[in-house]
Symmetry: C2
Subunit: 343 residues, 2 copies
């Protein structure tokens, strides 16, 4: 590889290890040919990581900031040594390497959010300017480097940052749904939260008023909010950990036919069987939930003799950021839902 | 559900729980409408489970048999309480329920192997006739019940049981590969063991002498055996846990193009990145390895910005057993390989 697409040359002391798994990255300047240099404005720390740090050093903003600065100094990236997780960042493009694929599409000065984790992003914090304890965010002065394969999104000027970030965080889900939904299908989304709402809105478009759209969640308020803005044809209040109950509810709602596609956006574990049992033979399941167990899905489908195509929800689909922002812009009710629930 | 497709009515005391997760099943006769009754000949205990029991009670065959009989008496199924795993069984069809979907296709007296786990199969052991400690097998007198969704295969009369079982154990893999390989593709199989060999043989057919077939394994003898019988165009000796090394080897073997399809049949963990990095943008990865981590795959693809369709290898594909046996029958060299390596 003459061109370092994956940032291997930024890994300190471990040959052939990708930046995400590396113990330490070298975030030093100058920016290399295949990189983008970012003037960082703020870091959005992963919720689990922020909580752990708060637990460790207490609620004092200064001490939280100092601990994060310490981690970044030590590792050359923001990867919580306890939770292993990172977050994302916002900043302005300062320099674009000659071989970076975004050359031409990005301009110096553009405001962007990185969509790859901070766990693989070389980072230097020069100064912590503020710690917003309520939203897990730090305003800083410093720089970061984005590799050629590191995905990002230009921040829209017509949407508040927090809202755009909330949507961009899960933008792979509606983009993958767009690939699989065709008019006339029966589609169910399990877990009607942030990504579930986006998946329903995208499925609604692809169905072109044919077929059936089912939203399932354990929370009646979440379902009511979606029903009120017309994001589903049927709302089923179910507990996704109860596979047989979910299957029976879906069977009843579909006249015994079950679904062509079930999209799992639940935030809890043990929801594989509800997903698999709700798909008709020959249908497809897409798992986005990070609590999905590979073996439970593989052995579960085999155990019930179900011919279901099971997809691991890839967080990256080309064009996912613009697709998601466009969805919000053209669906005022969805935008409103996001503004009230997820910001 | 008037028709109990999943055996829910056999679960003792836990409503809405599937037989696999149930603590206890009721294996009592008579055989119900949607079931098949099997006169059991032998139980193939899962390797991990057999080893645990041997460790617990010692190597004496009689004590191993007694312990297994005790578990089955207690749970109504053979599910090792420590490892959670089961195995499969061989027997003759004794009765076919009026509503069982195999009615017409199965005859009383047919010799079959169950392809669903013993962990969800109601079972009664009347007598342990022999314990074959070297091959994790028990010969017994007893009965088992197969649900409408419980998959099985008729045992061929032209192949030894052990050989047929070894192939049937992984028959979902070549059957799924058959769905995804088209002439002209570049296909790689990571892990050239039992299922890897079957996947290569099936891919070879679907490629119709166009495209390229790459076998990868850490073991040179395994690769040599496959090369000798023409099951691959290129054999790469790689360690699948070293993602970047594997990618570089594949890149070199494909003139920088990478693969349209990578099939992961490795028996170790930490092989997700090798799989993902070896796929070209827009390509597909199928994960069969039970050591696959869902989050590592999902976040890994996102982290390197790779547009790869990732499939969870479903152990059930309609017709998988006959496809696999046909593959062995028409490929004498593959049959020979199986007979020498996996029996
Ligand atoms: N790979 C990717 O690219 C990708 C993309 C999008 C999302 N994801 C993953 O998908 C998951 C969901 O993300 P999100 O942002 O949409 O989360 P979210 O906004 O919290 O939504 C999750 C929803 O699931 C519901 N839920 C919780 N327990 C349930 C149960 N037992 N039965 C039915 N519904 C239940 C929640 O209801 P309550 O609010 O009442 O708890 C909530 O409405 C996360 O694991 C996320 O990481 C991954
Ligand atoms: N879901 C399904 O339906 C399904 C179907 C088929 C298979 N599977 C799963 O797929 C996996 C493989 O099954 P199998 O029966 O084919 O096993 P197997 O016969 O043991 O083959 C595994 C192969 O992987 C090789 N290997 C081990 N470590 C490696 C490494 N670091 N790099 C490269 N190769 C390595 C092994 O080489 P050595 O012999 O030198 O160790 C062996 O040749 C298992 O987890 C199995 O459960 C699932």
């Amino acid at each position: 590889m003459s061109n370092d697409l994956y940032g291997l040359s930024r890994v300190v002391g471990e040959k052939g290890v990708l930046p995400q798994r590396a113990r330490k990255l070298d975030p030093s300047l100058p920016c290399r040919d295949s990189e983008v240099l970012i003037d960082v404005e703020s870091l959005n720390i992963d919720a689990a990581s922020f909580k752990q740090i708060k637990g460790e050093v207490g609620g004092d903003p200064a001490r939280i900031g100092a601990r994060i600065q310490e981690i970044v100094l030590e590792r050359g990236k923001m990867q919580n040594p306890v939770t292993g997780s990172g977050g994302m960042l916002i900043g302005r493009v300062k320099e674009i390497g000659a071989k970076h694929p975004a050359r031409g599409q990005l301009q110096v000065g553009d405001r962007i959010a990185t969509l790859v984790s901070l766990t693989l992003t070389p980072l230097v914090i020069e100064e912590v300017k503020a710690v917003h304890v309520d939203i897990d965010r730090l305003d800083i002065r410093g720089h970061a480097l984005l590799f050629a394969t590191g995905i990002f999104a230009k921040l829209p000027s017509d949407l508040p940052d927090t809202l755009a970030l909330a949507a961009l965080d899960v933008c792979g889900a509606p983009a993958l749904v767009a690939r699989y939904v065709r008019p006339g299908m029966t589609v169910a989304v399990l877990g009607a939260g942030k990504s579930g709402a986006l998946c329903l809105a995208q499925a609604r478009r692809n169905l072109e008023s044919r077929g059936k759209l089912i939203a399932m969640d354990v929370s009646q308020p979440a379902l009511d909010a979606l029903t009120a803005i017309g994001l589903c044809d049927v709302a089923l209040k179910v507990d996704a950990t109860q596979g047989v109950d979910v299957m029976e509810a879906v069977s009843q709602a579909t006249g015994g036919q079950l679904c062509d596609l079930v999209v799992n956006c639940a935030s809890v574990g043990n929801t594989e069987m509800a997903t698999i049992l709700s798909v008709k033979d020959g249908g497809t399941a897409i798992f986005f939930s990070m609590a999905t167990s590979f073996t439970t899905a593989a052995l579960g489908a085999e155990g019930v003799g179900k011919d279901v195509t099971m997809l691991v929800g890839n967080g990256y689909v080309p064009g996912h950021a613009s697709l998601t922002l466009a969805l919000l812009r053209t669906e005022p009710a969805l935008l409103q839902l996001f503004a009230t629930r997820y910001v």
